[in-house]
């Protein structure tokens, strides 16, 4: 090709931020780009590392990197060692100034690729053939791991052990149990993530294959049309929002909507509701819906500060009120499932009718069928793992943090995230040995200082903008997860590189992303960096966000289009916008940094272009 190679910075030459020297100790050592190991340095230069902004829109905390490590292992092992995906091993990880960069690792030896084919056909083949059965099994495994997590007790250390330790001849202490519980907690987290990737990459591979098949036959087909053909299946991801809608209807039916929607906090309306039988009935319904459905994270679930609805009931309450207003106004709030399915079938039929010959038709049928089989998992795993499991997990960790705080290791509970999980284990050893020995632990003189410094470092990281990618862009990417989720395509990379080259955000008037959902709309932008800000959205504004998650669902009732920094055709914003018939452009790379609230913008969800009309 006569194209110029896209230029991205050398990973070893990315600027160091003054005042952060020594930040490397906050993260696992193998995450560093290195210059003292020539072989590794060469490898790092030659690879293509792109910033995983989808999962990490901000720098990663020393503890929170646990999930990155978990999927580093899980995705990679399934590709490399379990299913033997022929042309690709795992996905390698690095960190620059607190931001996670990832790179798929190709299998370069053709003989090796060839040798992996038979294994892949047998192993992945088994999964595709028995998908539904295995998926049912998966749900049972997940429910078990979650119930184990919920049952896990983090017991504070007693002054004197209970007499039962003696009477029952237990022969071990609460100190030991605390260490054990912490290990178990971490272990459950890693186990959950093992399961997370059991199906995901096979799911993406099947989906991408269908996508590519469609693009071969119809070179101009918008990606969103392909997802439309596999969508319309009722996925769990929407359940939390559905529950809110049910509660909104129930509030109106029970005539308690006035109380619920009175602009007060949940604790305040709760007492008032308790006072009447209708109010009680509604509260019961509310309590029933909470578990598990309000274990929905307000973010992606990847960060400890992504609160779940259960952690702050005012969040679902605010959304409930949006729905109550709609119900009162006689507007429909239900997802137009029938329409979605009807439209899906119409589209599928039209493309099918345009296929030239029997062989192509057969391929289309097979791949469509497979894509539709895998699609629910691709969607549903998010609720089980990132939302439900993670939300409960963060809170269990806070129980551990409470003990560390009691002993003066940290000043407040939320300081715990500035320690790595290994450091926490060491700190707990310090706590329990001091407790057992009846002496002062060393930790209070060590950790608060270190945490104060780390907080400063994290602040400096936050002010820094990570480059979209570093290293050398390859000719081809074969790793399915990478391909789908980050939409690392020719197009988006070029667009990102262009914006990077422009440098000055003031000079950029057009952003290119993925055509997430069709339609053209002009309107005023509102940049919401977190779900907490969606309350500021006004009717018919255009939402500009880093990325969205099910918690953001109520926002889609108000807006007329959405723009995200990160995400491919399968991301939440794209899927929801398609369902509601709103235009969406996703994966623009820089939307929230270039577009400002109040700007007039034009969103073309058919072409993936966002144009700034008035600054």
């Amino acid at each position: 090709m006569g194209e110029s190679k896209r230029r991205f910075p050398d990973p070893h030459e990315v600027e160091k931020i003054p005042g952060t020297e020594g930040w490397e100790r906050m993260f696992p050592y193998q995450y560093q780009f290195v210059t003292d190991d020539p072989e590794r340095e060469q490898y790092e230069k030659g690879m293509f590392w792109f910033y995983d902004g989808l999962h990490y829109p901000e720098p990663i905390y020393p503890f929170d990197i646990i999930w990155d490590e978990a999927w580093y292992l899980a995705l990679s092992q399934f590709n490399t060692r379990i299913f033997a995906v022929p042309p690709v091993y795992g996905v390698d990880h690095r960190i620059i100034n607190g931001y996670i960069y990832i790179s798929p690792v190709p299998v370069t030896d053709p003989a090796e690729v060839e040798a992996r084919v038979a294994h892949f056909m047998e192993r992945a083949g088994y999964y595709y053939e028995n998908w539904n059965k295995l998926e049912d099994q998966w749900i049972k495994k997940l429910e078990k791991v979650i119930s184990d997590l919920e049952a896990l007790e983090i017991k504070p250390l007693p002054e004197l052990e209970d007499i039962s330790v003696v009477m029952e001849g237990l022969g071990k202490s609460t100190g030991y149990e605390l260490l054990h519980a912490y290990d178990k907690l971490i272990d459950l987290g890693l186990l959950c993530w093992q399961y997370h990737f059991e199906f995901l990459n096979l799911g993406y591979a099947a989906y991408v294959t269908f996508l590519d098949f469609c693009q071969k036959v119809f070179p101009d087909i918008p990606l969103q049309r392909v997802t439309q053909m596999v969508s319309g299946i009722d996925v769990i991801m929407y359940r939390p929002d559905e529950e809110l809608k049910k509660l909104a209807r129930a509030a109106v039916d029970l005539n308690v909507d006035g109380i619920v929607n009175s602009g007060r906090k949940f604790v305040e309306i709760k007492d008032e509701l308790e006072a009447t039988s209708n109010g009680k009935e509604w509260l019961n319904a509310f309590e029933k819906a909470r578990y598990p459905w309000f274990w929905t994270s307000t973010g992606t679930g990847w960060y400890h500060h992504d609160k779940s609805w259960n952690d702050d009931l005012d969040i679902p309450l605010a959304s409930l009120c949006i729905y109550i207003d709609k119900v009162r106004a006689g507007k429909p709030i239900e997802r137009p499932m029938d329409q979605v399915i009807k439209e899906r079938d119409r589209i599928t039929e039209e493309y099918r009718a345009l296929l030239a010959d029997e062989e192509t038709k057969a391929g289309f049928e097979q791949l469509l069928g497979t894509a539709r089989t895998v699609f629910p998992y691709v969607e549903n795993h998010l609720f089980y793992v990132e939302h439900w499991f993670h939300s409960v997990f963060w809170n269990k960790m806070r129980e551990v943090a409470a003990i560390l705080m009691d002993y003066g290791f940290i000043e407040e509970i939320e300081d715990v995230w500035y320690l790595t999980r290994a450091e926490i284990k060491e700190a707990l050893w310090d706590v329990v040995t001091a407790w057992a020995t009846g002496v002062k632990p060393r930790g209070p003189q060590v950790w608060p200082k270190e945490i104060a410094w780390r907080k400063g470092v994290m602040d400096k990281f936050r002010e820094w903008t990570p480059p979209a990618a570093v290293g050398t862009a390859p000719e081809v990417i074969q790793e399915p997860f990478t391909v789908v989720l980050w939409g690392v395509t020719n197009e988006s990379l070029n667009a990102w590189a262009e914006v990077d080259a422009a440098g000055d955000p003031e000079s950029v008037n057009q952003l290119k992303g993925f055509a997430g959902s069709p339609g053209v709309v002009e309107g005023f932008a509102r940049v919401c960096r977190t779900v907490a800000e969606i309350g500021q959205l006004k009717e018919d504004e255009i939402l500009v966000a880093p990325t969205t998650s099910p918690s953001w669902a109520p926002a889609f009732q108000k807006i007329q289009a959405a723009v995200t920094d990160v995400g491919g055709v399968m991301c939440h914003a794209a899927i929801v916008c398609r369902e509601y018939g709103l235009p969406a452009v996703v994966g623009t790379g820089h939307g929230t940094s270039i577009i400002k609230t109040g700007m007039k913008i034009k969103v073309d969800g058919g072409t993936g272009k966002v144009t700034i009309l008035e600054r």
């Binding site: 892949f120 591979a205 101009d220 049309r225 391929g363 074969q478 020719n490």
Partner: protein
């Protein structure tokens, strides 16, 4: 046996009407009956032609003139042709036939809301299935004809075109009886194009059948068909019926009506209009809808000429002038999209796809 009509509206024709109204008129009728808006018009049938040739004893004279001609004697052919064409073009049309043609012309003008509406007078031959017969009077087209007298005159010119020296020679050579030939003539409202162009019901660039591609410029379609301008280009998604791409080009010339001459002439497009979108989105989508219907009707991708008529009410001024099967990509179906050998299962597809990966540059 019902009496065959002398004239009939296009909408009364379909693909089975070829013997009566010839190929061109039949296909216009076919389009109208598929729900496509075509500039209104009517056909003067082959029955009318036969009546005309029979009425004034023309047939006898023609037969006589052609007696014993040698198809290689070009001088004699020219002489016979001149004589016969002179006869036809000066022979008055019988009153009842003239009445029919005139009455339909009056009604057509009324439909179009124009006094003496300008029309195209076109030959529509029945022998389209004869290879090599394409010169036999089928190409005769007269544009911007106004008034009954002029229409009648040009109808006779179409009739006489059956007897060019070349056509006569061809029939002699092939052994066709000269009296077997017949011709229909189409009288169709001239689309007074505000904008016009071509449309493909696939992407001619890559053969994508889920796309519709439209080229357009101000004025008549000549500037687009002849390639004299870089037209505006629209890409419409056939499935979602959305415009995915608009490319507005700098259009320097356009063709418009020379009222005095009744013909089109080339003009320079004013600077301020050169970068203006020549066809509005609404009309682009209307065209795409029509394209989709035509393709479904014929069962294969189409190459279509169209115009937006400024004489017609805004609600129905987008017209299809002509539609032919698209040939370039339709022939390529044999060498299909590049896949790697036949695949039996979804797994085979998934594997080969993983192997191919995604190109980044």
């Amino acid at each position: 046996m019902a009496q065959l009509p002398l004239v009939c509206w296009f909408q009364e024709c379909n693909k089975d009407s070829v013997p009566l109204v010839g190929g061109k008129n039949a296909s216009l009728g076919e389009l109208i009956n598929a729900g496509i808006r075509v500039p209104p018009g009517y056909a003067i049938t082959t029955e009318a032609y036969r009546r005309f040739i029979g009425d004034g004893g023309l047939d006898g004279k023609i037969k006589e003139a052609l007696e014993g001609l040698n198809h290689e004697d070009s001088a004699a052919l020219d002489q016979a042709s001149d004589y016969i064409r002179g006869l036809i073009e000066s022979c008055p049309i019988a009153v009842d036939l003239e009445d029919h043609i005139a009455e339909y012309y009056r009604r057509l003008s009324k439909i179009c809301g124009l006094p003496a509406t300008p029309v195209a007078v076109r030959s529509s031959a029945t022998a389209e299935d004869l290879p090599g017969a394409s010169f036999a009077g089928q190409q005769e087209t007269f544009l911007w004809i106004r008034g009954v007298e002029s229409v009648l005159e040009h109808v006779r010119k179409c009739f006489s075109s059956l007897f060019t020296a070349r056509a006569i020679a061809y029939r002699i050579k092939m052994g066709f009886a000269q009296e077997e030939v017949a011709l229909s003539v189409g009288i169709q409202k001239m689309a007074n194009a505000f904008t016009a162009g071509v449309m493909f019901t696939l992407n001619p660039g890559n053969g994508d059948r889920s796309m519709i591609v439209i080229d357009s410029n101000f004025g008549f379609g000549e500037s687009v068909v002849s390639g004299e301008v870089t037209p505006d280009n629209f890409r419409v998604d056939k499935v979602s019926m959305e415009i995915l791409e608009r490319t507005i080009s700098k259009k320097e010339v356009y063709y418009t009506l020379e009222p005095a001459e009744h013909c089109s002439r080339k003009l320079t497009l004013p600077k301020e209009r050169q970068m203006a979108q020549s066809t509005i989105d609404k009309d682009v989508l209307e065209l795409a809808r029509m394209g989709k219907v035509i393709e479904q009707h014929y069962g294969c991708p189409q190459d279509i000429e169209w115009a937006v008529d400024k004489d017609m009410p805004k609600t129905g001024n987008v017209f299809i002038l002509q539609s032919r099967p698209e040939t370039v990509w339709s022939c390529k179906d044999q060498d299909k999209t590049p896949t790697q050998g036949p695949k039996k299962t979804a797994m085979d597809h998934i594997l080969s796809n993983l192997m191919m990966g995604k190109k980044l540059s």
